[in-house]
Amino acid sequence: MKHYRWFAGCVAVALGLVANGPALAQETADAAVKRASQELLQIIRADPKVQAGDQARIREVVEAKVFPNIDFERMTSLAMGRNWRVASPEQQKRLIEEFRTLLVRTYSGALSQYRDQTMDYKPVRAEPNATEVTVRTEVLRAGQAPVPIDYSMTKKTDGWQAYDIVVGGVSLVTNYRDEFSEQIKAGGIDGLIKTLAAKNKSTGSK
C-alpha cells in the first residue's frame, strides 16, 4: 500500500514536470528539462484557475506546455512492444491519439494536487553529440524523501523530447506495456483501442 501511494503520487509529479516552452534546438537535454519544468511550476503556482482546480484550464496548460515535449509516437510504440509492428498505420494513429488523451486526463487530475515542490537537476553525463540521453532529476518536497525522476530523452530536429519517464524506478512505458499486452491478448489491437477510448470517455465526463 505504501508503495502504491508512493507511485501514484510520483507519476503525478513526474508528468507535471515535463513541461514545455518554445523548444530550442541547440539546448542540451538537461537544460530543456530544466527550463520546461521551471516554466510549468511557475504557471502552477501563479495561475489562480489552476490553483482553484479548474480542470479545463489545467488541461489547457498541459496541452500547451507539457505535451509538445513528449514524443508520443515513440512512447506508444514502446508501450506496445512487439505488437506495434503488427498494428496497421490506422491503428497506430488511433493508439497514439487515445494514449495521449489518457495521459492528458490522468495528468490534469493529478496536477492540482502537486504544487509545493522544487526540483534538483543532476548534470547529464553524455557525449556532446548524443541523440539519446537520460536526464536525472529529483523532486524535493518539504518533510518528505526526495523523489528521483529520470527522463529518457531523444533529440528531434526542433529540440529534445521525452519518450519515457521513470519515477523512483517505475517506468511509465513498462507499466503500460503490461496493460496493453493484457488488453491485446483479450481483444486484439482493436480491443485495446476500444478500451482506451471507453476509458477516456468515462474519465472525461468527470
Partner: protein, 198 residues
C-alpha cells in the same frame, strides 16, 4: 484477492480514513504519523544492519535516538528538520539483498500489493512490532487501530490517480509495485532490464 480488497476498502477502510482526516486536527495527525514513522525508522535501521549498509543504519538509529529523546517519543520529527535521511529499508528488501527472488506476486486484502518474499518480510515485521507488546491493552488497541488508519489516510487522493491512469488497476498496480521493489532492493541502481523490443 483483489476482488475482496476493493469493496472492503471502498466501503469500510477508506471512509474511516476519510473521517479521520476530516475530524482530527492536523497537528495531532502529524504527531501520530511521526510516532509510527519513528518505529519504521528503527526497523529500517535493523534492516540496514542486516544488509551491511552501515551508513544507512547509522542514519536511521540516529533518527530514532533524536526523535525518541528530543521529539517526545517520536511525536515530533526533529531528525527530518535536521536533514538526517531515512534509510527506508525493510525485511523484504533485506531478503532481496540476500538474493531471494520476489516469488509470486500477491495482492493481500487490506494491505495491498506484495509478493511471497515481501509478504514474508511483512510477517516478520508484524511479529516484531513493539506495539503488540505493550502491556496495557487499552493503549495497545488504540495504537493497533490508529496505525492502519494513519497509513490509509496518507493514501487518500492518490488512489483516484491510479483510477485515472490504469486500464486495469490490478495490472497497473502489480507492475508498478514490482518495478518499485526491484529499484529499492538495488538502492536505485537496478540492473538494466532486457527489453523485448529494442
Amino acid at each position: 484477492m483483489y476482488a475482496i480488497h476493493e469493496p472492503l476498502d471502498e466501503n469500510v477502510v477508506k471512509p474511516v480514513a476519510q473521517a479521520y482526516l476530516d475530524y482530527t486536527p492536523s497537528p495531532l495527525r502529524t504527531a501520530i504519523h511521526n510516532f509510527f514513522g519513528n518505529i519504521e525508522d528503527f526497523f529500517s535501521g535493523v534492516n540496514g544492519l542486516l544488509q551491511g549498509k552501515l551508513d544507512k543504519a547509522g542514519h536511521d538509529f540516529g533518527r530514532v535516538m533524536v526523535n525518541t529523546g528530543f521529539g517526545v517519543l517520536g511525536l515530533i520529527d526533529i531528525a527530518s528538520d535536521a536533514d538526517i535521511p531515512r534509510g527506508g529499508e525493510d525485511f523484504g528488501q533485506t531478503f532481496g539483498h540476500w538474493g531471494i527472488a520476489q516469488g509470486p506476486y500477491l495482492f493481500i486484502p487490506l494491505i495491498g500489493p506484495s509478493s511471497f518474499r515481501d509478504g514474508s518480510g511483512l510477517l516478520v515485521r508484524i511479529a516484531a512490532s513493539p506495539v503488540l507488546y505493550i502491556p496495557a491493552w487499552e493503549v495497545r488497541t488504540v495504537l493497533e487501530i490508529l496505525g492502519p488508519i494513519d497509513l490509509r489516510a496518507s493514501l487518500i487522493g492518490t488512489t483516484s490517480l491510479v483510477e485515472q491512469a490504469a486500464l486495469d488497476r490490478y495490472t497497473f498496480i502489480r507492475r508498478s509495485y514490482l518495478q518499485r521493489r526491484q529499484y529499492e532492493v538495488y538502492d536505485g541502481q537496478p540492473p538494466p532490464v532486457k527489453d523485448e523490443d529494442d
